[in-house]
C-alpha cells in the first residue's frame, strides 16, 4: 500500500518519466496492433518482435554504445528484413505462411541470442542492461531514452490518426479499397513500417519475447466490446495504457521483477475477462442469451398447448390442472411449475383453485404461436413440396422466431389460408 501511494504521488521525477513512457509505448503498440489484428496478420507482429533482437545486438557491436537511436535503427532494419524474407519464402516456395513465420521468428531470435551471449562473454562493461530487451524493463527508461522512444510513439499515433480511414479500409476490404483508389500497396507498406516501429518502441517496456501480446491482446480484448473500429482502437489503447502503467509500478515496486511479463499478465487478464463478460459477444452473455431463449421457447410452447386443449373442448378460457397439461405434452414438472408462475407474473395466465387458465393476453399469444406453426407447415408443404407428415418438426422451431413482418408476408403469400396441411384451422 505504502509503495502504491509513494508511486502515485509521483514525488520522484523519474517515476513520471517511467510512467509516461510505459503508458505511451503500450498504447501506441496497441493502436497499431488493432490494424494487424483486423487484417488477420496478428502473428506477423510476433515474428517482427523476435527479429529485432539481432538488430539491437548488431547495432551495439558496431557502435559500441547503447545509444537508443542506434539501437532503434538496428532493430528497425532486421525487423523489416524478417518481414521481407517471410513474404518471399511464402511467395516463392511451397512453404506456407505459418511455417515461414515460425522459422524466421526462431532463426532471427537464435542469431540474436548468439550475438547477445557473445557480447556478454566479451566482458564489455557497456553491455550490461542489453538483456533487459529480452523481458523489458520500464524502469530503465530515463532521460534521453524516454525522449527518443516517446517521440517514436507520438509519431506512430499521429500517423495512425492521419491515415485512419485508409488503414481501416485496407484492413476490412482491400479489394474495395483498391477500387476506391486507395493506394493499397503503399498503405500495406505503411502498416508494416508502423508494426516494426511499434515493436521497436514497445520492447523497451515488455521485451522482444512477449511483444506479440502488446500487439494482439489489447485488440482482441477491445474487439469484444465494440463493432466500431474507431472505438476499438481507442479502447485497445486505454486497456494497453493501463497495463503499461501497472508495469511501470511493478518496475518501481519490485525492481528484480521483469516488467514485460507483468504488463502482459495484466493485459491478458483484461482480455480473458472480456472474452467472458463482454456484452453480446462474451461467452457468459452468449450462454445467458441461450438460456433466455430456452425459457422463451418453453413459455411459448406452454401457451400453445393450452390453446390446443382449448381447441379440443372449445373452451379456451377453461382452467387446466398440471396433469392435464402434461397429458397434452410432456414437460418436467418442476420446469412446468416455474414456467407457469413466470407466465402468471407476466400476465399471460391466472391461477384458479390451483389450476391455470388463460388471461386475454395469454390466449392471444398462444393463438399466435399456433397460427405461426400452422402457417409455416403450410408454407413448407406448398412452397417446398414437403409432405404434410414431415413438416411438423420444422414448424416446432420456426414458430418461435417468425417476426411480425414475416408473419404478414407469409399470410399474404399463402392468401390468408383457413386450414393447415393437416386440415386444422389456422386461427386469426
Amino acid at each position: 500500500m505504502e509503495t502504491l501511494r509513494e508511486f502515485f504521488s509521483f514525488s520522484d521525477p523519474s517515476i513520471i518519466a517511467v510512467t509516461v513512457g510505459a503508458v505511451l509505448l503500450s498504447a501506441s503498440s496497441a493502436v497499431v496492433g488493432t490494424f494487424t489484428f483486423l487484417k488477420k496478420k496478428a502473428l506477423v507482429g510476433d515474428a517482427v518482435a523476435h527479429s529485432v533482437l539481432p538488430g539491437i545486438c548488431l547495432a551495439f557491436i558496431l557502435t559500441g554504445t547503447k545509444n537508443p537511436l542506434w539501437l532503434i535503427i538496428g532493430a528497425f532494419i532486421t525487423g523489416w528484413i524478417s518481414l521481407v524474407i517471410i513474404d518471399n519464402v511464402t511467395l516463392k516456395t511451397k512453404i506456407k505462411e505459418d511455417t515461414a513465420i515460425a522459422l524466421i521468428l526462431s532463426v532471427f531470435f537464435g542469431i540474436g541470442i548468439l550475438l547477445l551471449t557473445n557480447i556478454q562473454h566479451s566482458g564489455n562493461a557497456a553491455q550490461t542492461g542489453l538483456d533487459s530487451f529480452l523481458f523489458g524493463k520500464a524502469a530503465a527508461l530515463v532521460g534521453k531514452d524516454l525522449i527518443v522512444f516517446g517521440m517514436v510513439a507520438v509519431i506512430l499515433l499521429a500517423t495512425v490518426a492521419l491515415f485512419f480511414k485508409e488503414l481501416k479500409l485496407i484492413a476490412f476490404d482491400p479489394n474495395y479499397a483498391k477500387a476506391l483508389g486507395v493506394p493499397v500497396k503503399a498503405m500495406d507498406l505503411l502498416l508494416t513500417s508502423l508494426t516494426v516501429l511499434a515493436v521497436v518502441t514497445g520492447i523497451q517496456a515488455v521485451g522482444v519475447v512477449l511483444m506479440a501480446a502488446m500487439l494482439i491482446t489489447p485488440a482482441a480484448a477491445a474487439r469484444f466490446w465494440t463493432n466500431d473500429v474507431r472505438v476499438m482502437t481507442f479502447l485497445a489503447a486505454i486497456m494497453s495504457g493501463f497495463s503499461g502503467l501497472s508495469g511501470a509500478f511493478v518496475s518501481y515496486a519490485a525492481p528484480a521483477m521483469p516488467t514485460g511479463p507483468w504488463i502482459v499478465m495484466i493485459i491478458s487478464a483484461i482480455a480473458l475477462t472480456s472474452f467472458f463478460i463482454a456484452p453480446t459477444r462474451g461467452i457468459i452473455s452468449r450462454s445467458i442469451q441461450q438460456r433466455k431463449l430456452q425459457r422463451m421457447i418453453m413459455d411459448e410452447n406452454l401457451l400453445k398447448e393450452l390453446y390446443h386443449l382449448g381447441e379440443k373442448d372449445e373452451d379456451p378460457y377453461k382452467a387446466r390442472s398440471l396433469d392435464e397439461i402434461i397429458e397434452e405434452r410432456f414437460f418436467p414438472k418442476d420446469r412446468l411449475k416455474s414456467a407457469l408462475r413466470r407466465l402468471k407474473r407476466e400476465g399471460y395466465l391466472a391461477k384458479q383453485n390451483g389450476d391455470w387458465k388463460y388471461t386475454e393476453a395469454g390466449k392471444l399469444k398462444g393463438q399466435r404461436v399456433v397460427k405461426l406453426h400452422r402457417l409455416w407447415e403450410l408454407y413448407l408443404s406448398k412452397y417446398m413440396k414437403i409432405d404434410p407428415d414431415h413438416v411438423h418438426e420444422d414448424a416446432e422451431t420456426i414458430e418461435h422466431i417468425i417476426t411480425p413482418e414475416l408473419e404478414k408476408r407469409l399470410e399474404k403469400m399463402l392468401e390468408y389460408p383457413e386450414m393447415d396441411p393437416h386440415e386444422e384451422r389456422i386461427p386469426y
Binding site: A42, I95, D98, A102, L105, I113, L114, T217, A219, R281
Partner: protein, 301 residues
C-alpha cells in the same frame, strides 16, 4: 568427450523435434508448435516446485498436459468466443509464457531456472549434470538419457500411428470418412510435441526449440517430394546443424543453442536459393534455359 556429449544430446533432441515438425509443417500448424513451446513454461515451473527436480517423469507428463491444455484453450477461444485463430494463438501463449516467467521470478529462490535459460537453455552444462547410480556408478550425462528416451518414444509413436498421422495430415476429410478420429490424432500429436518440448527445454529453451521443430522439416520439404525422404533429410539436417552449431558457438564464444539455430537458418537460406527442385535461383535458371530453348526452336521469322 564433453563436445561429443553435447553434440549427441543436441542431435537427439533435434531429431525428435524435426520428425514431429514434418507433420506440423505439412499440417500448417507451425505456429501452434510455437505456441505450445511457450505455453509449457508454467507447467514446468509448477511441476518443478512440486517435485523439486528438473527432469522427472511426472514433470514431463505434467507439462505436456499443459501443452495439450493450451491447444484446447486456443480452440475454445476460437469456437466459444469467436476469436480469430491467429489472435487466439497469440493471446494464449503469451499469457501462459508471461505467467511462467513471473512464477520463476517469484520463486527465484526455489526454482533452479532463470529467465534467460528459459529462452535459450543451457546445453553447455549437459556434461556436468551426470546421472549417478545409487552405488556411485556414473552412467553419463542425464540429459543424454532424457534425449534418447524422448527420441525412442517419438519414433514409436510415429511408427505406430504413421498411417493415421499421414492420412489426417494429407486429407482429414477422407480420414474421417474411413473412421479415423481426426481430433484424437491431432491431440496425440500435440501431446507428443508438448512432451518433446518439455524434455528439450532445459537444453535449448522455449524459442529455439521452435527452430528445431520447424527448420529441418522446412529445409527437407524444399529438397524432396516424398514424405519418407523428407523425414530422412530432416534427421540428417538435425545432426549436421547440431554438430556445426556446436563448433560455431565455440568459435564465437556464444550460446550453443543460438548457434545451432543460426546454422539452421544458414542451411535454410542455402536451400531456399539453391535447392535443385525448389530453389529460387535454380528455378530462375530453369526458366532462362527454357526460354532459350524456345527461342532456339522458334522458327526464324
Amino acid at each position: 568427450m564433453d563436445a561429443f556429449y553435447i553434440i549427441l544430446t543436441a542431435s537427439l533432441f533435434a531429431i525428435s523435434c524435426g520428425l514431429l515438425g514434418c507433420f506440423l509443417v505439412l499440417r500448417k500448424m507451425a505456429m501452434v508448435g510455437d505456441a505450445i513451446s511457450h505455453a509449457v513454461l508454467p507447467g514446468i515451473v509448477i511441476a518443478f516446485l512440486l517435485t523439486g527436480t528438473r527432469d522427472s517423469f511426472e514433470m514431463i507428463i505434467g507439462a505436456a498436459l499443459i501443452g495439450i491444455f493450451s491447444t484446447f484453450l486456443i480452440e475454445f477461444f476460437h469456437n466459444k468466443a469467436g476469436l480469430q485463430t491467429d489472435a487466439a494463438i497469440g493471446v494464449t501463449f503469451t499469457w501462459l509464457f508471461a505467467l511462467g516467467v513471473i512464477l520463476i521470478s517469484v520463486f527465484a529462490g526455489q526454482v533452479d531456472l532463470d529467465q534467460e535459460c528459459v529462452l535459450y537453455g543451457e546445453i553447455a552444462y549437459v556434461p556436468i549434470d551426470l546421472w549417478i547410480g545409487d552405488d556411485g556408478t556414473i552412467f553419463g550425462p542425464r540429459a543424454l538419457y532424457v534425449a534418447a528416451m524422448t527420441l525412442i518414444v517419438n519414433i514409436a509413436f510415429i511408427r505406430i500411428g504413421f498411417k493415421q498421422l499421414h492420412l489426417t495430415t494429407f486429407d482429414p476429410a477422407f480420414a474421417a470418412t474411413i473412421g479415423i478420429s481426426v481430433s484424437l490424432w491431432n491431440y496425440l500429436l500435440m501431446g507428443a510435441v508438448s512432451m518433446t518440448t518439455v524434455a528439450a527445454f532445459d537444453s535449448v529453451g522455449a524459442i529455439l526449440v521452435v527452430a528445431l521443430l520447424v527448420g529441418p522439416a522446412a529445409i527437407a520439404y524444399l529438397l524432396t517430394d516424398r514424405f519418407q525422404t523428407m523425414m530422412m533429410i530432416t534427421v540428417f539436417v538435425a545432426i549436421i546443424s547440431s554438430t556445426l552449431g556446436y563448433y560455431l558457438a565455440v568459435l564465437v564464444d556464444g550460446s550453443i543453442a543460438g548457434a545451432i539455430v543460426t546454422i539452421i537458418g544458414i542451411l535454410f537460406g542455402i536451400t531456399f536459393l539453391f535447392s535443385p527442385s525448389n530453389g529460387v535461383l535454380m528455378k530462375k535458371r530453369l526458366q532462362r534455359k527454357e526460354a532459350q530453348r524456345l527461342k532456339a526452336e522458334a522458327p526464324l521469322s
